[in-house]
Amino acid sequence: MSERHHLERQGEGGLYETLSRSNLVTTKGWYAAAGVLFALTAAAVGVFLYMMATGLGVTGLSRPVMWGTMIILFVFWIGLSHSGTLISAILRITQAGWRAPVLRGAEAMTVFALMVGGLFPLMHLGRNWRFYYMIPYPNERMLWPNFRSPLLWDMVAISTYLTGSILFLYFGMIPDLAAARDHATGWRKKLYTFLAAGFRGSHSEWRRYHVASTLFAVLIIPVAVSVHSIVSWDFAMAMVPGWHSTIFAPYFVAGAIYSGIAGVITVMAFLRRVFRLEHFLTVRHFDNLGKLLLTMTLIWGYFYFSEFLTTWYSRLPEDWELISSYGTHYLPLFLVMLTCNFLIPLPALCLSKVRRSIPAMFAVSLVVNVGMFAERALIVVPSLARRNDPSVWLGYFPTWVEISYIVGSVSMFALLYVLFSKLLPVMAISDIKEHLFRTTDRSIGAATVPSVAQEEEGEGE
């Protein structure tokens, strides 16, 4: 079942066929999945148009809960977007040997999650058709946007991140596109020829390509960190009890990476099953990702505890009202968050049995994402519902409109992934090849273990 074995049997052309199976065969299942997802997405878009035409009254928002599901989804998807690029960049820089099969899926997840998440701030505007007031450009009104608003930082940061992530995804894909170009025919050939931009794989091309990729990875990490910090500042810069916290930026970044890794695991498990990549996405990958997730569980738990402890212990009146509402109105949400984010994943991920079982990891990753959704909801809603002035307190529950956005955002994300898998190389073929090229199987006793050709580039034992 090792990679080596597989390559020996099939040769490099066969390897390509296996890895890009998603591009090659269009099954009925694909059409069905794409159709259903498209229908769900289109329905959500229809609901959005309806909301745009009638007004935000169709949501469950109110005074004081002026932000609701749409902002929760925004933070959730931006958070989810995090790991992809970040993990990939970190893994690239540290040259983690097992990274290759994870890279592309993670990077694509970033781009798609950002695309989905980035829609929500625009959707939630009262007058969406005037969103361009936020864009700094010379205009006849002679009035520019207010850069002192965290929303504008957000806009700048997210556009930077989205641009960077797309470039990163694309740049990482170029050798694979070149491979695809040489295997494809018809319109695909033209597409891949264009996208591969004439990449051949000559020695100097590879050298420069590696330098550029490393640069990308180095640049994208601080952007990723800044983006989620700024998303957290959307909240932390406000004078709202429960939001106004100095720890928010690292806490959000940690939470984002946490949910992102869980998202990567979910996506990987899906890809593995759907495109029969069992040979490439092995238990080892899930084990490693599981360890990463465990680390993030602990980090997240630590951050949450320290954030909670200070507000809880200091008992500032406003904050106290918020914290005590966790014990009453928002107890279910709080328990869901605590269970899904900590009580389940922590012991489960400590067990190697769980980490090495792909269905279990899939389940854990889903649980973590449910928990992270609850966490976002718990940040956005109760803080607003328990404002400074107790006379305006009010509850919040999403209406069918907002619930359809939840469904729609998931299906849009999945749809983008499904389309991506059909069009572009979904696995980092050249990275896998490179990994195979640099490792050889060596027998140590009864076991066959891969050994690495190049020690100086990082992967030790």
């Binding site: 006849e140 009104r141 002679m142 009035l143």
Partner: protein, 165 residues
């Protein structure tokens, strides 16, 4: 509503400017119930704008002259002109003249004519060409930048609430 109106106005002005310049000018001539000639009144007879648009000095709106005011002169002047006869007819029936609005500001803009007039801003600053035309036209598009340029140059308030509530 406004958006639609804006778009409509945009489309209309584009059409007017690019495609149907001549036709639009022709339709402008028939667009008013009476073909009132600004040029004749302002240039030939040297009448002050504020004689007819008298509330420009006192209130936010410049005002449209009443039929009575038209008749002050046209009881004796050019009574045989076909357009003047129309005024006389309105006067006889004691009906107001249903003018069509030419210059327009968005609903959310407050423009006090009297502040401008009393500050010595010439009418033609914002209504250029009004002295040369026959039927009233809006040659100057009232964009926020147009207002601001003048406000900034004269050092008067550029607070948003000066014009928008």
């Amino acid at each position: 509503m406004l958006r639609r109106r804006r778009q409509a106005a945009l489309v209309a002005s584009l059409l007017a400017l690019l495609l149907l310049g001549g036709a639009a000018a022709a339709s402008a001539l028939t667009s008013q119930p009476i073909r009132y000639n600004h040029n004749v009144h302002v240039v030939a007879y040297k009448m002050d704008c504020r004689f007819c648009h008298s509330s420009a000095m006192k209130t936010a709106s410049a005002g449209i002259p009443s039929v009575e005011k038209c008749m002050i002169c046209h009881r004796v002047i050019a009574v045989d002109h076909p357009e003047i006869k129309k005024i006389a007819q309105y006067w006889k029936e004691k009906k107001p003249i249903p003018w069509n609005r030419v210059t327009e500001l968005p609903d959310y803009t407050y423009f006090p004519h009297f502040r401008m007039v009393n500050a010595g801003i010439a009418c033609l600053t914002c209504h250029p060409g009004m002295d040369k035309v026959d039927v009233a036209v809006q040659e100057q598009e009232f964009t926020m930048g147009f207002c601001l340029k003048c406000h900034k140059a004269r050092g008067v308030s550029i607070e948003c609430w000066s014009c928008h509530i």
